[in-house]
Amino acid sequence: MITDLKRTSLYDRHAAAGAKIVPFAGWEMPVEYAGVRAEHLAVRARSGLFDVSHMGQIEVMGPGSREFLQSVLTNDITRIGPGQAQYTLLPDDEGGVIDDLLAYALLDRFLLVVNASNIAPCFERISGLAPAGVDVVDRSPEVAMLALQGPAWALALSPFASPEPFALQYMEATEARVSGVPCLVARTGYTGEPGVEIMCPADDASTVWDALMRGPDGPVPTGLAARDTLRLEMGYPLYGNELGRDRSPIAAGLHWACDLRNGGFPGAERMRSEREQGTPEKLVALLFTEKGIPRGGCPVLANGEVVGTVTSGTLSPSLGVGAALAYVSSDHAEPGTALTVDVRGKQKAAEVTALPLVDTSPRKGDPR
């Protein structure tokens, strides 16, 4: 089947930087430049720059927007005010996950940043439920998004940003110019490191990219493969691997992003019940205690019996050992539990390990 793959406005930059470019969620995206491991370690140690323009931006505005979003998203959106972001989920009528997303409260509207593969389902769901007077607009085609991640993010950004957005705390956002381009700069990300995500008009993205890349403390260009290994070490779920319509967010440990006390969103009753009674399976992290690399779909065993399935697996570049996220039966989910993973017929010893797998935090360096 021939499909038309989309290119971000930074495609030429990736090609010039020697990126390996692969189809991803309908886009031609850079999967790696110098190599996954080097890029991953650069983000943990200094900084890396990702093109995440494939992600979606949906705006919700008009009177009653807050109340409307409170009724369709799991988290309590009344807890954020202008300039703040919140991790939340869009549930279907049964409490399954249509997508996980970041909701930003801005001065006159809300901005929802959703996964590339879920732009259409999110837009259909939200616009379909929106009452008269609430406008839902898909801005994805005109918005580019760059993620500058790593402890040296401020050094990399400082020569080009005006005003310098360094007073921002984790999960805060502000408007700023980067190399003259009007941007929304947010202290958010998907790596576990401090950093920013920068949204700007797609036509201007190369100006921002070029400025950041040529700075004296500039980041390394970083591809989607490292983005995946970085998020896995933090235990951040990925839609399609750890999240989907077939489970509520509770089994994934995302009760903290669901307003179970007061929420009236679809599936709230099921999630309350699951939170009180427990789910049959829980999402856990596994680290291998011998050589080998777990992969999505590998069975997880205890005493020879299948007790779960790997949803994401890789070699952890930070730790140098196999690392996985897996749903396992809740009686095998305690950190320290010894399990085995069947990797294409070979049994590999693994241990349930508390998250994050690496000692870092996106709040690192914040004054409070």
Binding site: V31, V36, R37, A225, G292
Partner: protein, 132 residues
């Protein structure tokens, strides 16, 4: 990473494996094309010394962070040595795929099997055809 090369003294299998004949023993490895397609190699799952290889069948696995690839034997025989340096430092496959990144040494059961493989010129032409 290394530059794209296909040495003239090797024979090539269409699954992107090379073989270098050394007396009645042969050295197996993967080509520059294979390691480039796989990306940075982070794990080598080798066969046991004494294991049998069969021409056209998998004798081990190479893994990058993102993907797993079977390693296809260009000829049949008995594994007499495994490159422990690659087990310890799998990135040797990327840095020197025809030298320090060799994978196994095999005592061939039927050296005439090599006649079915491509020489470097034929393999280069085969690679050019893959893009069509």
């Amino acid at each position: 990473m290394s530059d794209e090369t296909y040495p003239d003294d090797l024979r090539y299998h269409p699954e992107h494996d090379w073989v270098r004949l050394d007396g009645d023993e042969a050295v197996f490895g993967v080509t520059w094309f294979a390691q480039d397609a796989l990306g940075e190699v982070v794990y080598f799952d080798p066969p046991e010394v004494g294991a049998t290889t069969t021409a056209g069948a998998s004798y081990g696995e190479l893994e990058s962070v993102k993907a797993v690839s079977d390693i296809i034997a260009p000829a049949g025989g008995e594994v007499v040595a495994v490159n422990a340096a690659v087990s310890d430092s799998p990135e040797l496959v990327n840095g020197d795929p025809y030298g320090a990144g060799w994978l196994v040494k095999v005592r061939l059961s039927d050296p005439s099997q090599l006649d079915a493989l491509m020489d470097a010129a034929a393999y280069r032409a085969y690679l050019a055809g893959l893009g069509d």
